[in-house]
Amino acid sequence: MFDRISIRYKLIVLLGLSAALALLISSVITIYSIYLSESRASLRVLHQLTDVISENMRAALAFGDAQSASTMLASLRADAHVRLALVSDEAGQPLAEYRALGLPGALGDRLLADVQARMQDSADVLRRPGGSVEQTDNDFMGVLRPVFFEGAPIGVLAVVSDTGVMWAKIRELVLLQVATSVVTLVLLLFLSVKLQSLFTRPIMELVEAMEDVAQTKNYRAVLAAARRDEFGTLHGGFNAMLAEIRERDDLLSRLATTDALTGLANRRHAMDALQTMLARAQRKGDPVGIIMLDIDAFKAVNDRYGHPAGDRVIQEVARVLQANAREYDVVARLGGEEFLVACDGGTQEATVTMAERIRTGVEACRIQDSADTSLHVTVSLGVHSAVPQCAQEDIEQMIRAADQALYRAKEAGRNRYVVA
């Protein structure tokens, strides 16, 4: 499922999830730290309260004055969150008690029982100077502290408050945090939608270029690679790969279209090129000249001087052909010692001129066989020129005509040209 989603949406989802996770963690930590600090602050207030009350309570405890103790505890009414207070004498007997107005009786009894149980459980701590006991749960928190007279404990004071203030602050904070988180998340998602293109654009460009190359087979396409980051490397790699494909294609094309010994066009390429030439000439009504050429007595050269010498003869004839052909003519080795020259726009006169030039060029050529031996060969040529009417048929007809003229040149004694 996830692998079907576009990378840009994956990025948005990823950025959104990361932001949400970061906000969640930070919110939890913040709220927990606020809970701790608020809890400590509330307990600190209770400690301060018990400090003040115990100072005043000392005389009441010292003289067992329950009425004064009750009056002092009644002053706690000023703080609506103080729910219960208890002062006990050194024997653990309650001297005075305070319950907030509206505190349900059962709840008050439970709180009182909890406080008294804690007093008994922590009796040792509550006899030490500076000793105090904290009691906290979700709904209530309390502080118990001993009251000393002349260095000896004479009672214990306990004040219990509800945690309403603390939870109210935490609720406010949670609401604020949720609101802040939602706004931040929306902003981050908006930014991630905008920023994802920074990452996805180079990838999409690459994908488009790959699709384009796959469709058009145009391996000469080049992707802009001005970036210096990993995308730049990726684009550069893509361009290098295309360049390698181009080089390989060129090599394959060269191998497929040229003759390995002479570097001239091979038969297949010559036929293709000739067909293109004829089609163009047919369209324009121009003539095309064809010269078929064969090295005279080539078998004797091979037999007498060996195949390497024969190859050198073929290469030398090819050089003469190329030297006398124009750039837009087709020069090909059809096989063995047989060659073809197709002259674009070649009238009979121009083609004959070229044929004679080739013949004399080959005739004049001295091919070095060894330090003191040189060869010399001649060629026979069949010349034909015509304005093509139908490209496919004319190829065969024109070649056949030139070939028959070549045959006649051979018959006539070699080292000459014959016009068809």
Binding site: E55, N56, R58, A59, A60, A62, F63, G64, D65, A66, S68, F149, E150
Partner: protein, 172 residues
């Protein structure tokens, strides 16, 4: 018949007897605690002296209670006097005299010498004594004559005043 009546009387009186013992103990404790809330004019004595004038209702209670204890960082010395003339230099004077005139004389002596006076006699505070202590239903009631304390050169701490009935002049 008679043993039965006696036994009934013993049973009926036992709680009161118990209450009396407890009150006496508290009274003994309170004498020292009063002292903690009161400042005396500086005196060159090395001991804090508590003197009991006339009958001793505490038995050995005071000795047991204040042995090895300190008040205002001084060791406590207990003295027992039967006549005013026997009262020497002292810091606190617990008066059990039954005669009003004898008590008045003792109060006069105390005021002249900067002595804290304590008694459980009715009308003690109104007649110039500083602290009157009595128990009603096992609960202590403290009455303080602040003017008398000032006259004696004593300063009484606010916490003690806050739990006591304070006479300013002759009226509460």
């Amino acid at each position: 018949m008679l043993p039965g009546v006696l036994a009934l009387l013993v049973v009926l009186q036992a709680p009161w007897a118990w209450a009396g013992d407890e009150e006496r103990k508290l009274e003994a404790v309170f004498i020292g605690r009063f002292a903690s809330y009161i400042e005396w004019p500086a005196k060159p004595r090395e001991r804090f002296v508590i003197t009991l004038l006339d009958d001793n209702p505490f038995g050995t209670l005071l000795d047991d209670l204040y042995r090895d204890k300190r008040i205002h960082n001084k060791p406590i010395e207990l003295r027992y006097a039967t006549r005013l003339e026997q009262v020497g230099e002292t810091d606190a004077l617990f008066i059990t005299l039954t005669s009003a005139s004898a008590r008045a004389a003792a109060i006069q002596h105390a005021q002249r010498n900067g002595i804290l006076t304590i008694s459980e006699a009715k009308g003690f505070a109104e007649s110039g004594g500083i602290i009157q202590l009595d128990f009603v239903e096992q609960k202590a009631r403290i009455k303080i004559n602040h003017a008398a304390a000032v006259k004696s050169g004593l300063r009484i701490g606010a916490p003690l005043l806050s739990i006591a009935t304070v006479l300013r002049g002759d009226k509460p």
